[in-house]
Symmetry: C2
Subunit: 289 residues, 2 copies
């Protein structure tokens, strides 16, 4: 049971977590804080949080569980703001899409209390944002990755893990470095490719025709180019090395594909396409969703 849950950043991610924990009956009081006053008022109105605090330091005081649910670019500042107010019995976690930079910032701010910080990342979300977009069940069956360091307290990891399990999520642990490499591949690289594709096509004189005559595949590929630009700028800036490495390799791979098409190497093309099709079918046995 969580006595006082504090959510910093009551948006889609934080709001949905609050809804699930309340529905599961595992939390007594939920206090929220965030930058948008209107959003906080709406969160109270919707019953997602019980009350809004005027500052993040005020919000975390006396909380046994603190969830920092702001975009990755804002986590460092929140950590610095709340560090002086964190009690010895509090557990703090976050939901940032990058973990290495968050761990470094938490170590800087929390110092001897760093062991109470459990870096986390629920792999869930929609293109929408704000508490109005929050919903119950967002995390059911989804992965939550925790990246505890060697000096993270075991009981703190356990409490964060238990919290996420109440939402129906599947909790895994790995190192921050592994998380950032895996997510660079599965999430950050695809987002970069989709942004680059839309940005390239929209600069064409005939872009209206290109979009008009596009089929479902194009819509699928470009859907994530509607993701939040600021959030993705910050993910890039916080996971630069891994993302650049992925993009460089991808660019090299495209070079090989261009050469094969240019010289009409049908065998290379068919084998490469078949390998990709086979891999996707094996790795996603249920093709869609």
């Amino acid at each position: 049971m969580i006595n006082k849950l504090c959510i910093i950043g009551v948006g889609l991610i934080g709001g949905s977590l609050a809804r699930d924990l309340r529905a599961a009956g595992v939390v007594r009081e939920i206090v929220g804080h965030g930058r948008g006053l209107g959003n906080l008022e709406l969160a109270v109105e919707l019953g997602v949080i019980d009350r809004a605090a005027v500052s993040s330091a005020d919000a975390v005081r006396g909380a046994d569980m603190v969830v920092i649910a702001v975009p990755v670019g804002a986590i460092g500042q929140v950590l610095a703001d709340i560090a002086p107010a964190i009690g010895a019995q509090s557990v703090v976690t976050d939901v940032g899409s990058v973990k290495g930079s968050v761990v470094a910032a938490a170590r800087d701010s929390f110092k001897q209390h760093f062991s109470r910080f459990v870096p986390g990342h629920p792999i869930a979300g929609t293109e929408r944002s704000g508490v109005g977009a929050s919903l119950s069940g967002l995390y059911r069956g989804r992965h939550v990755i925790l990246t505890p360091e060697s000096d993270t307290a075991g009981d703190a990891v356990q409490r964060v893990s238990d919290m996420w399990r109440h939402t129906g999520a599947r909790v895994s642990t790995m190192s921050a470095q592994e998380h950032d490499a895996v997510l660079a591949a599965s999430s950050h690289l695809p987002h970069m490719l989709a942004y680059a594709l839309v940005d390239m096509l929209v600069r064409r004189d005939d872009h209206r025709k290109v979009f008009d005559f596009a089929a479902g595949g194009f819509r699928d590929v470009t859907r994530i180019a509607a993701s939040d630009p600021t959030m993705w700028r910050d993910i890039c800036l916080n996971n630069r090395k891994a993302i650049v490495e992925m993009l460089r390799q991808y660019r090299d791979d495209l070079g090989a594909m261009i050469a094969a098409i240019d010289k009409g190497d049908g065998q290379w093309l068919e084998e490469t396409f078949a390998r990709a099709k086979h891999a996707r079918e094996i790795l996603f046995p249920n093709n869609d969703k």
Copy 2:
């Protein structure tokens, strides 16, 4: 009214067209031919075609409308096979994803009858194939592009256009060259990017984790990598110039993005992502599907 409709290649595309035209009551008899005997038998059993012909030349004899619904790599051979059997009153059309190479092949095979050939491309389909996957309503609201040449007969274009309108499709015309450039951008390039992405990631040691922890965006982006490898090999080989040009520009664009991430140019990244997001939202007002 079509007196005798001949479908060469009774798969998803040809079968779905036959179903719609029969349902619309605008065809008297449907004769099919294709390479797979089992598929043809199934097509008769399902009532998609009335009877199967033993050869393509036999199938087209006396047909007032011939639809070549085989993959683009096989169209050239079909055109050569049926050319001697095409009557002066027949209209022939195809469904190939590339038009320039098909027009050239038709001109070669049909010679003085070339005016009866109306190059066409319905922008519809699923990852499934074969007549068992065919369904009514596949073309409702979808685009069909016709690319008549200056010497294509106007009445032939009209008849093909009327046929497609009976399926609920929206029919447009443009030049073969414009079609191939627009489709290279909206379809061929995205397919290449998805194939390259899956092929790159699956070669990683941690590829199982990458796929396990992938969210919806990754599934969306890679869905079309499950498309038919032979078909896409042939599209590449038949639209080499336009696809290579697109891929080269995309690779150059990635270079600019890599440089921006590498040097931490947040402003460049946010502006590029915002432009892409804005463009996608404007050009696809109804974000999904």
